[in-house]
Structure formats: C-alpha cells, structure tokens
Symmetry: C2
Subunit: 423 residues, 2 copies
Amino acid sequence: MAKPKNAFYAQSGGVTAVINASACGVIETARRHKGKIGKVYAGRNGIVGALTEDLIDTSQESDKAIAALRHTPSGAFGSCRYKLKGLEENRAEYERLIEVFKAHDIGYFFYNGGGDSADTCLKISQLSDTMGYPIQAIHVPKTVDNDLPITDCCPGFGSAAKYIAVSVREASFDVASMAKTSTKVFVMEVMGRHAGWIAAAGGLASSKDCELPIVILFPEVVFNREKFLSKVDAMVKKHGYCSVVVSEGVKTADGKFLAESGIKDAFGHAQLGGVAPLVANMIKDALGYRFHWAVADYLQRAARHIASKTDVEHAYALGKAAVELAIKGENAVMPAILRKSDSPYKWKVGVAPLKDVANIEKKMPRSFISKDGFGITAACRKYLRPLIAGEDYPPYNDGLPRYIRLKNEAVQKKLSAEFEVLK
Amino acid sequence: MAKPKNAFYAQSGGVTAVINASACGVIETARRHKGKIGKVYAGRNGIVGALTEDLIDTSQESDKAIAALRHTPSGAFGSCRYKLKGLEENRAEYERLIEVFKAHDIGYFFYNGGGDSADTCLKISQLSDTMGYPIQAIHVPKTVDNDLPITDCCPGFGSAAKYIAVSVREASFDVASMAKTSTKVFVMEVMGRHAGWIAAAGGLASSKDCELPIVILFPEVVFNREKFLSKVDAMVKKHGYCSVVVSEGVKTADGKFLAESGIKDAFGHAQLGGVAPLVANMIKDALGYRFHWAVADYLQRAARHIASKTDVEHAYALGKAAVELAIKGENAVMPAILRKSDSPYKWKVGVAPLKDVANIEKKMPRSFISKDGFGITAACRKYLRPLIAGEDYPPYNDGLPRYIRLKNEAVQKKLSAEFEVLK
C-alpha cells in the first residue's frame, strides 16, 4: 500500500476564540485516519509558512495538547494577512508552493479562514489542472464577521456575538445604576467593517425577560445624526439611561466611515479614538448627557472564557468534516453549517463548492433590522439566539484560563532555495 | 419587647460586579435576625433616596430574588455620586436625614461604598452625638480601585482584576498570532485614576506557565516617552509582539494626565479618545508597529460573568458581618478583610474604626512595581493571585446570564415636605 499523503493546515486572517477548535477537529480526525492521511503539517503564520517552507510538525504534539486546542483562543500556529495573487500575476508563488508540497509529500490542503482565504483555497484546488500537481484543497470557514455565504453561520461569530451580548447587558445594568446622578449613556464600539452581524448581537442583551434600552448603529444603515440623537434622547427620557452599540463600519451619507468624518487632532492627523468616543461626545454636545464608552476590539474575538458552546461545536465539527471530505476524495469544497430548525436548534454539516463561496460577502438582510434602523427584529433574534447558546468554559489555573501553547517544532527544511514573501 | 428598629442600606459611587453580593449578605443576614432588625429599607439611588424619602421596601422581595443578587452585577437599588457636606456646611441635609430615619423608625445605617462613602458613613455615625438621634452606622467596603486602608482588599477589585488579567491574556494570544504580517502591539486601557492596582492585574496575564510580553504603565510611575518606547521596541524585537496595559491615570512629569497632554481635535477640544489610542499612535509614529487598542471601561467592573470566587465570597461576608456588627451594638466601624496566609490563601473578617478609613487612600507600594517601572514584582503577584482565584459563574438563559431585577417597591412616604438635593 502506498504511503498516505501528508496534509497541510493553515490559519488565515483575523483569529477567533474558536479557530483552534477547528484545528483540533482537523488534527484529531486526521490522527484517527492514519492509513489515509500521513502527518499534518501546519503552516507557521498561515500560507506564509508554506511559501517559506516553515512548516510545523503537529505529530510532535501529544494528544492531550491537541485536545487543549479546543479551549484555546487565537491561532496556535500563527495566522497571516496575505492573499495569493492570481496565477497570471504571480506564477512564482504557485511554483514555490508546489515545490514545498512536493518536497514534503503534501496531498491535502486545509485552509482555515474567511472570504479571502476561500479564494486562496480555490486557487490551490485548481493546481491539479493549472500546474499538474495533484492536491485536494478544502476550506474550513472562520470569521467573526459572519459574512460567508451558504453556511448558516461562521465559526468565531457565535462567540464574539455572545461576548458582545453579555457585555452590553452587564454594562447596561451598570449605567442603569449610575444614571440618577451620573452617567446616562454607555457607548460600545464593536467590530464589523462591512456587515452589522456583531452589532446586531448587542441587541440580544435585551430580551423578553430582561428588557433594556439599546440603540444600535449598523453599517447597513446610513448614519443620520438628528434621528440618532432624537432616538437616544427618547430612550433616556423614558428609561433614565440607554446603551448605544456602534459598529466600527457605520457610514455617513457620503459613504465615508463615521469614525473618519473629518475630526482631526492638533497635528492634522485623523482623530486617534474610534467611533465610540466620537458618538459619545456627539451625544454629550447635543443632549448634555454624561457618558462612558468602551472599545472591545480584540477582546471580542479572543474571549474564549465566554465562548458559545454552539460555536465551539460548529468549529470542531467543520474541522472534522474537512478531513472526512478529503478522505472521500473531495476537492474545492467547504464544509458548511446547515440549519435544520430554530427551536429546538438543530443543524448538520453540508458541503459547499468553493467557487460559490470565494469573494462573496453575505450581508445582513434588511428584514433583520427594525424599521427605524436602530434595533433588531424578531427574525434576527430567531437567527442569532441559538448561535450564542451554551457555555463552554476553559479549565483554570490560579484564576486564569489554562490555554495551551504548542511546541510548534519545525519540520526540517528540504529545499535549499529561500523564498521572499512579497509584502 | 420593643419592636426592633429598621435598617437603611444604600449603594454609593461606581458600582461593581459584586456590590449586590454585599447587599445579599446584608439582607439575608438581617432576615435571619428578625428579632433584632426590622425591615431593610434600601435607598433608591444611594443616599439621595434617604434625602428624598425614596425608600425601597426589600421585604417585598422573595428569598429567591435576594439570593440572586449574589450573582447579579451593578447596583440593584441604584447608586449615586453624592458626598454629604460637613455638618457646619449643610446642616439641613442632616436634619432631613434624621427626619426620614425617624419617620421610618430607622436605627441602623449600612453604607456600601468607597472612601468618600466611608466619610459619609462616619458623619452619619456621629448623629447620636451631634444631633441627638440614636443610630448605628456601619460601612460596607466596595471599590474596584482597591484603595481603602486597613482591609487587605476591597470587594469589586478582585473581579475587575480577574477580568483584566483574563482579557490581557486572551488579547496577547491574539496579537501573537497576528504579529508576523500584521498587528504587533496591543494596547489596553484600564481604570484606576489614582492607583495602579487594576493595571497591576494586567501583569498577572503572564505567569510562569504562560509567559507573555507585557508592558504596564502605572499612575504611580511618571511617564517617560523614551524609556517606554524603547521597552516596547525591545519586547517586540525579542518576542515578535507585545501587549501594553495602560492605566487611565498615567501622568507626565508636570503632573498632568497623559490622556490630556495637549492633543486637541480640529475644534480645539481635548482629544476624544482615551489614553489607549494615544499610546498606540505614539508607538506607531515612533516605531512603525501596527497596533490594535481596546478600552474596557464599564466592562471591567460589570463583568460578573467572569467574577472572582474569592471576591464574591468577600463581598457577601462583609455584608453579613456588617449586620452582625450592628446587632452587637457597634457603630462607626467597617468590617474588613484580614489576610492570614497567602498560600494556601486564608482570610477572616476583622473590624476597622471608620475614622481610620474615611478619606484615606491606599496606594500601591513601590515594592509591587518592578525596578524599570513597567512590570509587577513577585511580592505583587503573591498579593494579587488569591484575589482573582476561583470562578463563580452566574446561571444562564438562552446564552445570556440571568441577572435579577428586583421589584424595588417604594415605601409609602410619611413626610409631607419635599427635599431638593443639591447637585
């Protein structure tokens, strides 16, 4: 029997609380099919590791260490922001990849990322045809932005959504306590440059059994200063306080980001703060309400301590499915989450052709945003609720989560040539 | 037997993840001593509720609702930022308080707050002497700033510290993953206008079993731009990345807050952002490293979802002790946490005279800050470690913590006169 081909696995783009759970799914499943898949080599810092022949030998890690990836946030092998150019534009990169794959007997390519990465993965999947090198490329979806098509949701999103929903609820309780003599408005900035999925999650902080006054600013809704201020004012007059969830991607009528709408510091630089302080100061100036603001930034995508159980399960299942698809001989596909029912929540793993995934952005449907543009609808709640359901706590040592750091031992290089990655 | 006197309980100043655990301790303990203490009336929005005769009848709440306060952040009865003036300056306020206390047969005064509140509580404790109204006033310590004297730590701090330590660890893992081709420095702004206790907690993110490159900017250490930049540069050169924890209270040599050090927007306003974006941009300008920054603000003091078990236990124990001290006939005191040993961590509740607590700020000892001024020492770790130990998760519904909101029914007013609270 021929020796099974090795696999290459890499993480790409912004990391999440659960991308390592997908890595765990890939590696554990490959280990269970040693007759079909040889070693799993991880790219150190994503595809850059493949280009520079900087591979990590995951077979050096114990089963226990690999299992711990399931509860460890961030990218255990390092990620990168690097998009392969087209074959015509940079043939040298593809030739180099084939050289590296050939040197290390790699026949499977698992790429864990978002829309750009799906495009890279698609290009790799075509190497058999375009360059005559036989390889199966499977994409493992990941992005807090939740903007990939076909799959019902993207691993990483559910945990970011849960973090935002929980944080907005907690901060709303806080500002409610302070409102009588002090802070009346709390503003929280969330990620989502192009789509309001994460901002929408802020709306979950308010529920039937715990109603809270929350105003959301979506990237999908053109910012209208007067309408916004009058909404906030009405909320404060009615409830005594309110919370504002503002997406970093909110735009003005001229298509510019609100955060870049002309406010400059003394040296003429665009203002240093984000959109949260801008919105908070706008409220103070117009309405006189005292405010506090927060910018969660990396915290929202790294917060494995409050990960969604659904999200962890999705992430693991998709990593596992990717390997199973490869074993079945599939190429140029992505395992996807298909929703079978909302309540009780049921889902299964399906398969999407990569050509239908790459470079396509799933926007939030308008039907998910309330008529006035500042809230979420019942349809949106129905969609989001199961994605933040369940807790999946990591183990703790001395009050801190015990996250794994792998040995990440390098595979011995076999090529003499160096390769310079273009920036 | 005479009918027992009623008790007044109020929350003051910035709320925390565990101030309601103290309320829970007060009310549950009072309910167990009905022969000694009548009803517990809570001030709606702190002492303002006493001045305006806006009292909440906690006896209307079920045992289950009161028990749920233990896992609910924020101030369940509303807090306030309001400091009583001296007796000479505003006698009318004291006369009004006595009028309200008399009307509702209040003989016990429990005040849950920080240094300013201890001062208010002390003034109330003297009403027997100064105004001839018999009352016992007991202070229940609370502050995320951890700056009260005598007590080994302040309830609220341990949970904020745990939130910061966990968040800095998680974000550090994130930036480590991104550093090869993208973000190399993560900057996180934390609370602590005058003392670096919370900033110090960021240092716990790095531990023996999980070393991370972290640079801390303390309010206790004068900011030195060159030294700071060279420290960050050295960290990035050695580790590939680093995290910076910056206290909002960091000051320059002229005693000004760094965040207010002259950067103005186009309209001449002081810059909108906090000190985190300022520091992040400073690094970018001088060293060219890509950055991300976060400002946790209210999230750090409201994050009951990741509260420290030790902290919750302290908070409850001090609320309970306050009532027991009242029953013993004490006045003008504060129950305090006394540490018996670091490892294993052992503590007991002691008693501090309020005159030794009011208006005295406990700074961080210089021996807790490393020689170069950018880190914490072993002594600091020994002190902090038990305070963030243990998890105490709230119950969840549909992916969100189930925090209680009380009915907060008003006690019928007995006085005809209104009282206007001075702003």
